[in-house]
């Protein structure tokens, strides 16, 4: 229960009087309050500084140190106060948590000291209010990263017992770990540079030969360039294969961007080797040579800045997309307008709208080559509008991209923020579970405990009863009593989700298979809740199962099941009711000393079917299952979680 509103529990309980006339069953007895009525002041002595508060203030959060009985360990009999040897400054915010229900993180406080205090007093940090939570998380992350960096510096020392493969991989990823790795790093860098240079120089026309025209160097010194190319490609291939061998996860390595770049860089060479000097394919071959320029991207392994640039471009993708989209729109509009404006003039270059695209792009980006110029007045007017708007359209998204870039470059924490979003969801889920979920399950759990307690009372086993008697705070027991009254009013019980699903499933299954008339289940709960458990000695309302005579309806009804929580004497005196289709009677369940919690009758199938003789497994493990009696005795299944026996005929 949300402890902050614990003070309103009396009001909620008083309001429950509104249910009383509606309910048909007697209400459970209220828990007694043994403690003295008036509230008392508690003195908390934290390293000499005395804090005082009401006892009920601390009781608001019973799952923390100060709210539970754990504080008794710190009680000093002589001075009648609770002494804690902790930091009094941090304690201030912790005590304020009890007073206001909100936990704040003081900014001057060291994050790890604060965390320790929270852990000591049993408060989960997720409860920190939204006003301070961002700050808390940021500080915590910084701290974690600082610790991580320290660890990383130590990590680079070589661990013993690394396999050869792992050594190689580490050498590839962190070149400064060993000399060999460094040499390898520089050699590959050198060859990348050489390869790119050769690609460039290949196309330069060098030296006039006695033959008529200038040839590019590539065609003049074919052999030399070919040898250079081969050497580079060999080095790159060897490097790629070595990385592939050393990679811990080969499949992941092959999918990574860097390895794709490597493959694209060396592929054209091999294709060129394979292909013949065919006229048709050599054109395609030439295009493939273009891909050799991708070797330059291999430098990104060597440069951290290049990687960050690529990363930030990727993350600015939406802004870039917007820029592109708006430009395209403007280009199309202005190209159309210019085309129609220039249509009239003779010998115009604006031959079609796509031809006008070029003019529009050149104008909007303020390049202005001048190879296409409008001649008509209308064309010139629209042309000037085009160039003005071009400035605007480009100027708008670009600062966004720039600011994005600078933000990311400085922070370098985009991935952490994405992780933080998941953490936020997880945090909310944790708080929700801790506060509400536990109260839901807390109530259901205590119900089971109560039932179990009563069972044990029957058997008179003292030790087990004491074991199960969890000391629940008075507030909790009062809250549970309130929920109990609600159950009684509506004659329905709270169950947890699995049980509910289970019941639904059974309902649908049973309503299919059964064709016989059965008892309406509507009146069942209302009538039978009054047969709620009484004491051990009171005779059971055997004969008053109200489902008996009046529900002979020919239509198909839903499933109901008999809940019997049988006492110890079940094996002896139990005579199971047999749900006979012909007479539509309910036999009497005669369980002396047992307690019927809720009774719902299940549908019998056609009498010729034999029941699924599961037998009774017995709610607590110690009881032996009573044997099923009668040919049409309904089988009894137990759901161990709820400690009741469900009688259902299958």
């Amino acid at each position: 229960m949300a402890a902050g509103v614990a003070a309103w529990l009396p009001f909620a309980r008083a309001a429950a009087i509104g249910w009383m006339p509606v309910a048909n069953c007697p209400m459970p007895i209220a828990p007694r309050d043994h403690r003295k009525r008036h509230d008392e002041l508690i003195i908390l002595n934290v390293s000499g500084r005395r804090f005082q508060t009401w006892r009920t203030t601390l009781d608001r959060f019973p799952d923390t140190l100060l709210g539970s009985s754990e504080k008794q360990f710190f009680y000093d009999e002589e001075t009648k106060e609770y002494f804690f040897d902790r930091d009094p400054d941090s304690f201030r915010s912790i005590l304020n948590f009890y007073r206001t229900g909100k936990l704040h993180y003081p900014r001057y406080e060291c994050i790890s000291a604060y965390d320790e205090e929270l852990t000591f007093f049993g408060i989960i940090p997720e409860i920190i209010g939204d006003c301070c939570y961002e700050e808390y998380k940021d500080r915590k992350r910084e701290n974690a990263e600082r610790l991580q960096d320290d660890q990383d510096d130590n990590k680079d020392c070589k661990l013993p017992n690394m396999t050869y493969r792992e050594t190689m991989w580490r050498a590839f990823e962190n070149p400064h770990t060993s000399t060999m790795a460094l040499v390898f790093y520089y050699v590959t860098g050198f060859f990348i540079a050489i390869s790119v240079l050769t690609n460039v120089i290949e196309t330069v026309p060098c030296g006039a030969t006695p033959s008529q025209k200038d040839m590019p160097c590539g065609e003049r010194y074919t052999i030399a360039f070919f040898c250079m190319d081969t050497a580079c490609v060999l080095i790159f291939t060897v490097e790629y294969l070595m990385r592939l061998f050393a990679a811990p996860s080969r499949y992941q390595f092959m999918r990574s961007v860097m390895s794709i770049i490597d493959v694209v860089a060396i592929f054209p060479y091999y294709i060129g080797l394979v292909m013949t000097d065919n006229e048709d394919v050599s054109g395609a071959f030439v295009t493939l040579r273009v891909f050799r320029v991708f070797r330059i991207f291999k430098f990104s392994r060597h440069s951290q800045g290049l990687r960050i640039l690529g990363y930030t471009l990727k993350s600015c993708a939406s802004e870039l997309g917007f820029l592109l989209f708006s430009l395209t729109m403007a280009i199309i509009i202005f190209a159309t307008v210019m085309f129609y404006a220039e249509k009239g003039s003779s010998s115009t270059k604006f031959t079609s709208i796509p031809a006008s695209f070029w003019y529009t792009i050149v104008t909007m980006t303020t390049l202005g080559y001048g190879d296409m110029v409008p001649k008509t007045i209308a064309g010139k007017i629209f042309g000037s509008i085009c160039s003005l708007s071009g400035v605007l359209v480009i100027a708008l998204p670009v600062p966004v991209i720039v600011s994005n870039f600078s933000r990311i470059y400085h922070q370098n924490q985009r991935a952490d923020k994405r992780r933080a979003q998941k953490v936020q969801k997880a945090r909310l889920a944790r708080i929700r579970i801790a506060q509400t979920g536990s109260s839901c399950t807390g109530f259901l759990q205590s119900k089971r405990n109560d039932l179990l307690n009563e069972l044990l009372e029957l058997t008179g086993s003292e030790e087990e009863e004491q074991q199960l008697n969890k000391s629940m705070s008075l507030l909790e027991s009062q809250h549970h009593h309130l929920l109990h009254c609600l159950e009684k009013t509506t004659a329905h019980e709270f169950v947890d989700e699995q049980l509910y699903e289970q019941n639904c499933l059974e309902t649908t299954i049973q309503s299919y298979t059964s064709r016989s008339p059965s008892f309406s289940s509507q009146d069942g709960p209302m009538g039978t809740c009054c047969t709620r458990r009484g004491k051990m000695n009171s005779p059971l309302p055997n004969s008053s199962l109200p489902l008996q005579p009046s529900h002979q309806q020919g239509s198909l009804q839903e499933l109901s099941a008999l809940h019997i929580q049988c006492g110890d004497k079940v094996p002896h005196t139990n005579s199971r009711s047999s749900l006979n289709m012909k007479t539509d009677e309910v036999g009497l369940i005669n369980c002396k000393g047992s307690q019927i919690t809720t009774a719902i009758i299940s549908i019998p199938t056609a009498p010729s079917d034999t029941t699924d003789g599961d037998g009774l497994h017995g709610p607590p493990q110690r009881r032996p299952p009573p044997p099923p009696t009668g040919p049409q005795a309904p089988s009894i299944n137990t759901t161990a979680s709820s400690n009741v026996i469900k009688v259902s005929a299958l």
Binding site: M1, A14, A15, P26, H38, F494, V495, D496, D523
Partner: protein
Amino acid sequence: MGAVVGTLTMGERTKGERRRPSRDKIDDDFELSIVCHRPEGLDKLEAQTNFSKQELQVLYRGFKNECPSGVVNEDTFKQIYAQFFPHGDASTYAHYLFNAFDSAHSGSVKFEDFIMALSTLLRGSVREKLTWTFNLYDINRDGYINKEEMTDIVRAIYDMMGKYTYPALKTDTPKQHVDAFFQKMDKNRDGVVTLDEFILSCQEDENIMRSLQLFKNVI
């Protein structure tokens, strides 16, 4: 009534100027005002209700903690009530409760209203409790409970149970419940329940009488 309605104003301030809360402050457009309500003196409340001074103290501390401004509006009321019933949806029933507490129909519940209602519910006579309950059920305050009003109330109560119940809630369970209620309460079968019929029928029912005494020791 002796209650002081102070208007605390916040907003733009020039340096050195300090406004203090005073009684007849005119609200400016730019300023936020919080209505603060203080209840009557402890002695007076003790005379008016069936609570002792100490109980009033405890109650007021809890009230003030949750509502520092001294009044509860309907949303806060619903939030508070919903925390006691995490399984289902308590807002409808909280709405009816709020109307029952807010006897002056002002849209907010002050501490005095709160205490009066609690005093009736916890320490009042049987007749007073039943009258209060009748007013709770009589949503439109016409002196009669008809079937629609009762169905609304019962449906609101069932809403608090939530979805996961055993046995599973069916759509006409509230209706059947209401029919049974009217069967019991409506003596002259005229389709509505008056206050006298209600009180008479409840006094005849053992269970109800017993359960009305259940919460005597809540404070």
